[in-house]
């Protein structure tokens, strides 16, 4: 284990991660949400591209063993495993509009118990790295499921994740990983649990390479992202 960090519920965090690391994210309470953005550390204009990730692997959600792909066709990270078979990739992330029904609170009034949206948290982390609104791409929402019906309708599944649910990502290139544990934008209560993030050397994993040709090619491109 290289680093272990518990991100409190409703907080945001960012970390630079070398290629070949495993990020193990574990929900420390029920109904967790982790809104996740990925940027290449050496080239932050190359960002997680959710549409390209979904269409290349013919999926409307994120699940193992999909590869998370960038704007420029690089496999950024592999979802090497998860106790859940659906992570939302269609609903963006919460904004102040979604937190307001539970009462937007100020630091002056409640100090660090204030309620911060995922958008505000992710932007705050992006700005620490000289990034801003222009760099805010679509995120994925780990631990959340928004079910689709066959006419394209969406409905969040309450209680989709339980305490102890987990997902592991393998970094395929050096990454800037940005995350918020604020609520999913379609959540109906304000009760975001913390999420534990443990970073270690990644074990060898062939699951994505064997999953689809598209996933394998994204890993090939990652290996030659910088020659």
């Amino acid at each position: 284990m290289l680093v272990a960090h518990d991100v409190p519920g409703g907080a945001a965090w960012s970390v630079r991660v070398r290629a070949g690391r495993e990020l193990r994210c574990t929900a420390l309470g029920p109904d967790a949400n982790l809104s996740l953005l990925l940027l290449r550390a050496d080239d932050p204009l190359d960002r997680l591209n959710v549409p390209d990730t979904l269409k290349a692997q013919m999926s409307a959600c994120v699940r193992a063993p999909m590869v998370l792909m960038s704007d420029r066709g690089i496999g950024l990270a592999t979802v090497t495993g998860s106790s859940l078979d659906w992570h939302d990739a269609l609903c963006g992330h919460s904004t102040d509009v979604h937190v307001a029904p539970f009462g937007l609170t100020s630091y002056q009034d409640v100090r660090n118990e204030r309620r911060v949206s995922a958008r505000a948290g992710l932007l705050s982390e992006l700005r620490k790295h000289g990034r801003d609104r222009a760099d805010l791409h679509g995120s994925v929402n780990l631990f959340s499921k928004v079910a689709l019906d066959d006419s394209g309708g969406l409905a969040r599944v309450p209680g989709w994740s339980a305490e102890g649910d987990w997902v592991t990502l393998r970094s395929e290139v050096e990454l800037l990983v940005l995350m918020s544990t604020s609520i999913h934008p379609l959540a109906t209560t304000w009760a975001p649990p913390p999420v534990r993030v443990e970073i270690s050397e990644a074990p060898a994993d062939e699951s994505a390479r064997l999953f689809r040709d598209e996933s394998a090619r994204a890993l090939e491109q990652a290996a030659r992202a910088v020659v």
Binding site: P51, K55, A60, C61, D71, G73, L148, G152, D213, E214
Partner: protein, 197 residues
Amino acid sequence: MTVVPAGEGFVGLVRAGGTVRIIDLEGNQAADTLLYDAHDLDNRYSAFDTIREQRSAYLTTGSQLLSTELDVLMTLTADTVGRHDTIGGACSQESNVLRYGEHTRHMHACRETFLRTGAQVGIGARQLTHNINFFMNVPVTSDGGLSFADGLSSPGQYVELTAERDVFVLISNCPQLNNPCNGWNPTPIQVVVREPA
């Protein structure tokens, strides 16, 4: 009125209250489209904010096309097709390599058109985002599946968008030859911008 051949781009200002009509002249042609607040390029179309707030994966008449700040940039006020995609993104040379193999790397793709055309109004790689695919059919299923299917559009079908503020409309008329999004035969579209009444 502008005819945009396949593989070419269009960018134009649509003033608040004005409209843009995009016509699929020969049918089954994907028109990859991005929208920007003309006075704040970072307040741009957001596919996932739009999908979430309307609780539907597809765009059709009445869809409010939202920005990252949740402003309504444009409203889809007419649609003779019935359903359009905003999950599938645009093609790029690099995503073609992932999807179809190395031999497609040098085939023309929408991302190049977005960059070349967007540069006219200051839209660069950092400003590009997840787009709308008018006339494209990308069904999603309750088990989490997604596919690129034959288009639902036919010659002369159109969409019309009404601007709710001053908006730059950036279009790439898709040159994709590797899937059925253009019926394997990319064809021209027509773009008609009308000033507010």
